[in-house]
Symmetry: C2
Subunit: 433 residues, 2 copies
């Protein structure tokens, strides 16, 4: 029996794209790949923004500058979309899917903004749409959610899914650096972009939470905004308070059931107990922690970015698509759970860490404590530190409703004795582990 051929078009030859090409043309892997794909994977074209630029390792005859023409090729089985961003990537993906071409993408922004529509389009045309590389780089978490955990009732998904912010917060933790110093270092090392907004303001983490949530809980992907807070306000004193109290500060993306049919999705910095498995995820590593009703806690750890790790996730999808095509089948897209209702961030209960810069004068604590009390937020522990301009009061609350804490913060800001609110961060409680 002759080995079937699966013809692959690739849009984008940056870090991920060129690592993928190297994987696919590596002679020493070719037998293993044919085995895993049940087919020979043949690259028929690589579309790049600048077709004149030399691309070592990529056959020149494959290169073109016209991504849309590649997406429309008649002889294509799979389109690998690595262009990034919503437009024009969306038009390439739609063109391919509607012509019966399967798509593998690493594009989290695209999936978060219109993943449901694209998945339906794929299904209608009897082809696959996979995007393992969109969350957690090389960590194969999405396929596990689709397959091994398909029968599990998941209670909570919590992830460190942004390597840039984890690198910055890790530096602040191990070296006591301030945010600006750690950011500059991350930029110098190439871990952070010149404009770091998407990472440090948690847009990236929020998109990944939505993708995880769609597979774990059956929520839709329509570009909905979810609660989001960045790390730019985190100070060295906050990191230090956390450490002294047995916590580390991490930017976490969370999707969790609330009550019978509620679901909360959010991305924000939080205090995590030092013994929690996520607390030891250092530097640019990513991790996804899942709590299932029956499985208990499960965690996946790996490199969340980088050309080679991300390319392995793309390759895993490509092999899966190839086997499906050879078998004349495709996977059903994630199912949607209509009963789930989005719970506003204000309705979430949590312990909070709150730090206030205050006037260094008698009676301040009493007036501050009065504001907490008036909003029904009860205090678990308190610490006064610094003198003069540096005077600070830091609190850990008991479990409280977020909206009550927010109301407390608003009133504290208007209090004469409070210079500013330095931090207000939720505290993640230790799950079983």
């Amino acid at each position: 029996m002759s080995t079937p051929k699966i013809r692959v078009g690739i849009i984008g030859a940056g870090n991920v794209g060129s690592a993928l090409v190297q994987l696919l043309i590596d002679e020493s892997r070719s037998i293993a790949l044919v085995d895993a794909a049940m087919a020979e994977l043949e690259i028929v074209g690589v579309a790049v923004r600048d077709a004149e630029k030399s691309r070592p390792g990529i056959d020149e005859s494959l290169l073109s500058g016209d991504a849309m023409a590649l997406a429309h090729r008649d002889d294509l089985d799979v389109l690998v979309e690595l262009a990034g961003g919503v437009d024009p990537a969306r038009s390439y993906v739609e063109a391919a899917l509607s012509r019966g071409v399967s798509v593998v993408t690493a594009n989290k922004a695209l999936m978060a903004s219109c993943g449901t529509e694209l998945a339906q389009l794929a299904n209608k045309n009897g082809v696959d749409l996979f995007y393992e590389a969109a969350v957690g780089g090389g960590i194969p978490i999405l396929r596990s959610l689709r397959t091994s955990l398909a029968g599990e009732r998941i209670e909570r998904v919590m992830g460190i899914v942004n390597g840039t912010t984890n690198y910055i917060l890790s530096k602040m933790t191990t070296e006591g650096s301030d945010y600006d110093v750690a950011l500059a270092e991350a930029q110098a090392l190439g871990y952070a972009e010149a404009d770091p907004t998407a990472d440090v303001e948690a847009f990236d983490a929020a998109a990944k939470v939505q993708i995880l949530s769609s597979l774990a809980f059956g929520t839709e992907l329509h570009g909905e905004e979810i609660a989001r807070e960045g790390i730019t306000g985190i100070r060295a004193v906050d990191v230090d308070f956390a450490r002294r109290n047995g916590y580390v500060i991490k930017l976490v993306g969370i999707a969790e059931r609330v009550g019978d049919n509620g679901l909360s999705r959010r991305a924000h910095p939080a205090l995590i107990p030092a013994e929690h498995p996520l607390a030891s995820v250092h530097g640019a590593m990513n991790a996804v922690f899942i709590e299932g009703t029956m499985s208990g806690p499960l965690m996946w750890l790996g490199q969340g970015a980088g050309g080679a790790p991300t390319a392995t996730a793309v390759l895993g999808d490509l092999l899966y698509v190839a086997r499906n095509r050879v078998n004349g089948r495709h996977d059903v897209p994630f199912s949607v759970d209509d009963r789930l209702v989005s719970v506003p961030a204000g309705d979430i209960e949590s312990v909070f860490y709150i730090s206030l810069d205050v006037m260094d004068e008698p009676g301040v604590l009493a007036s501050v404590a009065g504001v907490f009390g008036a909003h029904g937020v009860s205090i678990q522990s308190m610490e006064q530190s610094g003198v003069g301009d540096e005077a600070r009061i830091s609190f850990l609350t008991h479990t409280a409703l977020t909206k009550n804490v927010e109301a407390t913060i608003r009133e504290l800001k208007s209090l004469g004795a409070v210079d500013s609110v330095g931090a207000c961060l939720p505290v993640i409680e230790q799950g079983a582990s």
Copy 2:
């Protein structure tokens, strides 16, 4: 279109079997399961050792005492084998496979002893054989190796795959307990069997290493013996030495490439750097750490035992089998890499921790050091401690060949100044993480 039925027979209704039955008959999951299986999963029989015993939650009409009759039923689509042990489990599995019935098993002993033959039998009969629950309880590592990582070149798989020994070693680490005390506690809590041999002598870990290796590297499963050492000789002083030097002692199962076409498989206690992700795997948790050429380090963490977590792994397999059967297909079994040659344990290079109980008299260190030197084992650091009967010398060597270290130990044992060799444990070096 009517929903197809997949008829499931289950052998064994212990912790895992009864948790699985509960999952399958749970009304609140039924829609999600039909969705994930693309079929209705119907339990047609549950074979137990003692059919007279009351089994709350299992319909009495399903129970029987005849496992072989269940395996031979004409109306079966999938047999779930949870009996454990090689015989008679093997005969049930063979009977099912050879009659075109797919098999899901949690049986590591069976898979390690004849997995290759059973996989070939499954393939010949066009059915699936899956065994996710045989390694790492609820951790879905095997499917990730089969699918997402099928195109990756894996360099090393290293796992904490035995919860009993990890519980004992964790207790020894956190509480400074001796082995016997920690074992007794593990037995009292049900983490260790009355006869703990399979766990503490690393038979269980060795079987799991062989299963991981077969999927990661393409080695065969024929019940071959691999290098194996237990934890019964580990003393509180060893755990303490490790801690003071930045390590923890863990029982690890390792399968790794050596040179061009060599492969080493072994299970033994080792010193792991405290910063290594495996070092923070506490208590009865399991974890598998993989180093891939392109993916870099990846780790999976979860509950390695227990009825409910293990049942979720079985259910994941069952859903996969169901979808395959509905689509009229089956997965190809793991491929075999004939070029790989097993590397003897003696040929592995490592840093070693060695601890000697010695006579408390002058000149001992000189004579001991002479023996190391004679075998080409060079010393990285040395510590003398205790006096009189408690006198001890502990060493960390530089990287040395295991067989040279073994020869050193043999000669040291015959040295008058050495009372006994307390420990000789490899040290795992910190990988990228």
